[in-house]
């Protein structure tokens, strides 16, 4: 009987080791965190998904998903980061964690080039009790998201709030405020060109759409080419080379003309994109200068 007890105790001991290894929550994120730190994001993601799957603790599950989304973010898989954060059920989360979840979701949406959804997530954070540091992060992201939506007024408001929260030195605060004011002055805001207007201009004067999009050289070339083909067509007609004039002159002119109408619309799209990107670049530089130490 004694040896049966002895071996049963051995079994209990071994099972205890197994259970401790399997279910201990002490340092549960050590392995995935070290993998993340080493840049082994896929391994880290799998470990985190395992923690999510095996854990019974709601908070641990949430933290695992937040970390997993961070891995996706580090891999520049922003869509997957959003999807991972969407798996978290917000109703059961404490306020402190709820802020992190929603903020991370907003950030992932912004990085996924969806500033509209990022703004929605940020607006849902407004009623949460947040500290200054969290408000600063929130307003920074709000400033960028509104700028992405070209809502300059709201973006400026958020930027001013972010600067006020971040900069304590009065001179620096004044300087950055004036930079923001200058950036948001009407003349400095990116003017969005109309594709329809460009197309109409090119319909009336070939090359006009290029001038409107700021491509003067290309506009002149286009105008010259159209004029040359028209001249060739007319001169052929005048010389009674009707077929040649129609085919080589007007036929080519017609093809060039319709192709040019499509071209100017693409040019305007590209010009608008560049203008917004340049503005955002300058804007981010000003905002980040607020956080720089003297």
């Amino acid at each position: 009987m004694q040896w049966i007890k002895k071996y049963c105790l051995t079994c209990i001991f071994l099972s205890a080791i197994f259970l401790t290894n399997g279910f201990s929550q002490e340092g549960i994120f050590d392995v995935p965190d070290s993998l993340t730190a080493a840049g082994q994001y896929r391994d880290a993601r799998i470990e985190l998904e395992k923690i999510f799957f095996f854990s019974n603790n709601q908070q641990v599950k949430t933290l695992a998903l937040i970390r997993k989304a961070a891995c996706f973010k580090a891999e520049h898989h922003f869509q997957e980061a959003c999807e991972t954060l969407n798996r978290i059920f917000p109703a059961h989360q404490p306020d402190s964690l709820l802020f992190e979840i929603k903020y991370e979701k907003a950030l992932a949406c912004y990085l996924n080039e969806d500033p509209g959804q990022a703004t929605v997530e940020l607006l849902s954070l407004q009623n949460l009790p947040v500290n200054n540091e969290q408000t600063a992060r929130m307003t920074f992201l709000a400033a960028l998201s509104y700028a992405g939506l070209q809502n300059w007024e709201e973006s400026k408001k958020a930027a001013s709030r972010f600067i006020t929260l971040t900069v304590s030195e009065p001179q620096k605060l004044e300087r950055i405020h004036s930079q923001i004011d200058s950036l948001f002055a009407e003349k400095n805001l990116p003017v969005i060109l109309s594709e329809k207007k460009a197309k109409n201009l090119s319909s009336i004067i070939p090359g006009g759409g290029q001038f409107y999009a700021g491509k003067i050289g290309e506009g002149l070339f286009s105008l010259g080419l159209h004029a040359a083909l028209a001249w060739f067509g007319i001169s052929e007609f005048l010389d009674k080379f009707y077929v040649t004039g129609y085919t080589a002159g007007f036929g080519l002119l017609q093809r060039l003309y319709t192709g040019n109408l499509q071209r100017v619309q693409d040019l305007v799209k590209e010009a608008n994109k560049n203008r917004i990107e340049n503005f955002l670049e300058a804007y981010i530089a000003v905002l980040t200068s607020a956080t720089e130490q003297p």
Partner: protein, 285 residues
């Protein structure tokens, strides 16, 4: 006795948690698949399951790997993994049918056919097997084999793929009635009237466009020839342009006709594969 019991107890102490762990790991892989994290599932299986496991575990691992590869359209490796599922597994039939389907999709029809031919089935699975074999025969454009397999499908008591069966029959008729376009006829027609070969191949828009271009260049060449003579530079320019376009159009027609035949076959193959896929998903999922 005492020593034997002690060894048995220690072995059991290590084995029980190990088996429990493997079972939980399999649940986790299933969870990854449910989350559509197929690449992670494949990576995880390949990374962490290199040891020799009991047959049921190996079967599950092969099935999970094959299924994940199938989900990400990595069909060759998927078929290879699914074929490793043993006949003792409850997933055996599903694995074989999907492996055969994967090979059909890859155009390895003989391999696909042999997998199904070597499968011993009965009842609904026999019907499904014959249906899949009919599909493979149709993909191979083997009318005789199609009729033989198709005739063996029993639909009096099994209504699970009546629609797909009708579709397959319809595709069979379409294949039989399809008149393969001749490249020589297309080229001859385009030589006679530029663009007409393309219209013959079913590309009416392309044909009209080609006709207008060649005719306009030809007319310009003729006009210059008539007014300036054969040796004038402009006549030579337009004449050369016309010749290049005329010959180019004939050459292009040959490819258009070839492409039109390929397009028909490709579209038909896709339709057949789609119809082969539906009953598989309905029956096994």
């Amino acid at each position: 006795m005492k020593r034997l019991f002690s060894i048995a107890m220690v072995v059991f102490s290590f084995q029980a948690p190990a088996q429990y762990t493997v079972s939980r790991e399999l649940d986790f892989i299933q969870h990854l698949i449910n989350q559509e994290a197929y690449r992670d599932a494949i990576y995880y299986i390949n990374r962490d399951f290199q040891h020799i496991y009991p047959l049921p575990v190996r079967d599950s691992l092969n099935y999970f790997r094959g299924w994940s590869q199938y989900a990400i359209k990595d069909l060759g490796p998927s078929a290879a993994s699914l074929l490793q599922v043993s006949s003792d597994s409850p997933l055996f039939f599903k694995s074989r049918f999907f492996a055969a389907y994967n090979y059909s999709h890859l155009g390895k029809l003989r391999l696909s056919e042999s997998i199904l031919q070597n499968l011993s089935t009965e009842g609904r699975l026999s019907n499904l097997r014959n249906f899949q074999l009919s599909g493979i025969a149709l993909l191979a454009r083997d009318t005789e084999k199609f009729n033989a397999c198709f005739g063996r499908i029993e639909t009096v008591s099994d209504f699970s793929f009546v629609t797909e069966k009708k579709q397959l029959e319809q595709y069979h008729l379409e294949i039989l009635n399809y008149r393969k376009k001749s490249m020589a006829v297309g080229a001859f027609m385009s030589a006679l009237i530029p663009g007409s070969g393309k219209i013959y191949a079913g590309k009416t828009g392309e044909g009209i466009s080609a006709f207008l271009l060649v005719a306009a260049t030809g007319a310009a060449a003729w006009e210059n020839y008539r007014k300036l003579g054969a040796s004038h530079a402009r006549t030579l320019l337009f004449g050369s342009l016309f010749a290049v376009l005329y010959v180019g159009n004939i050459y292009g027609t040959i490819f258009t006709v070839k492409l039109a035949n390929q397009e028909f076959n490709h579209a038909m193959d896709q339709k057949i594969l789609f119809n082969m896929h539906i009953p598989l998903r309905n029956l096994f999922n």
